[in-house]
Amino acid sequence: MDEPKIRIENVSYFYDGKPALRQVTLDVPAHAITVIFGPAGGGKTTLLRLINRLNDLVEGTRMSGRVLLDGEDIYAPGTDVAALRRRVGMVFALPLPLPGTVRENVLYGPRLAGVRGRTQLEEILVRSLTQAALWEEVKDRLDDPANALSGGQQQRLCIARSLALEPEVLLLDEPTSGLDPISTGKVEESLFQLKQRYTIVIVPHSVQQAARVADYAAFFLRGELIEQRVGREMFTAPRDRRAEDYITGRFG
């Protein structure tokens, strides 16, 4: 395997002294979909939020270990956190459009990053919405309030909003948990398109989804990384008993 895009190195993480991750070491390959799955409370969301330092916003936490992006420690002193978050985009479980129009939502990040040219912004708008498989549905509604879209459209808008910054990595935290099967299918479809250009880390909302999208899979249980495999192998022949029990539905 080539140099991993992201390397998580012996990371432990605590909320008010309570451990959420225990000595996790995990490589995330570039241009592939890596699935982080396991029962609730396993530290999946925490792990995602460490990769773009969103957990910095939470008080009373402690971390040890290193997180490397292209070989560089993103927790090194002097790291430009805003710039890091432009390289590592994130989509949340609940679609939360910012107040404002569809256009304003997509262009929020680029504008903050200082992009001013009209044609450039227009290009970003079309490209991001197309990549998120939303362009055809909203091209005539760009100046409508974003929260007038359906739930599934809102979530793809949130994906487009992240893609507008042309991140290198896209983190998705149960992006389809509130969506119907058709919208879910559309989101997954756009993920397959996106992995050509981006490195994707996703916490799926079900084992079935994990199996559908995973190039690589990592099974987490109570803050520990139990098993890490190529996706196909993980879901057909897991080695660890607990992973097998979870995948086959014996617990969860």
Binding site: N52, L54, L57, E59, A82, A83, R85, R86, G89, M90, F92, L94, L96, P97, L98, P99, Y108, G109, L112, A113, P145, N147, R161, S162, L165
Partner: protein, 281 residues
Amino acid sequence: MNRYLVQRAGFALLALAALVVVVPILLVIGTIVVRGMRAINWEFLTAMPRDGMKAGGILPAIVGTLLLSVGTALVAIPVGVGGAIYLSEYARDTWLTRAIRLAIINLAGIPSVVYGLFGLGLFVLFLHFGTSIVAGSLTLAIMTLPIIISTAEEALRSVPVEFRTVSASLGGTRWQGIRNIVLPQALPGIITGVILGLLRAAGETAPILFTVAAFYLPRLPRSPLDQTMALPYHLYVISTQVPGMPAQVQYGTALVLLALVLSMNVVATVIRSTFRRRRQW
């Protein structure tokens, strides 16, 4: 006793309680409007007082109150909203910020005459602003700050934390998230707080008593360091300090003050509902 009767008696008592609140207010407003209307004419609103304030108009008092409100707003809005942003968005939960919050709550309960004496000591005497619009505005601003800070902080906190997270995840700094998302969403609440505070300032007598108010000054103020007449103090003066004052002038002055304050209130309500319709959560 029949439980439906008990319920009915309960409702009747509650309705009575509501009536006890509303009736005196309506009586006060009604009396002032009915008896004050006769005094209101163009001269009353635009002329200087004459004959020891028994005749002429109350223009200097109106202008003085407007100037004091503007001066108060100029100081209290930036400081108050800035303080609220700091407390809600930046300050961590430490003993210091808890002490600040406690102080703000307690400041809101201090009698206004104490603010007046404080203003006299600090602004008029120690800082040599003299009895002036500057000193009066600063005193009123300090009195207004607790109201503005606590309502603005409440408004900021009611904006869902997820908006801040989303903004950060799109490469926004903390300030960019506040500036672009949080503040616009909190604006209706902040405006409400600001206007509530300014209303209180516009109607207060005690804080301006020693710091700016002139007993009788039949001209418009010439500079921020000038004294001025002001409606609440003028009302106090003509009601208690000048024998033989026509009741009509007293009611007229009260009506002008009431109209000023109530119209600010209406403006606040309109602004609030306009913004609220645009809010998206």
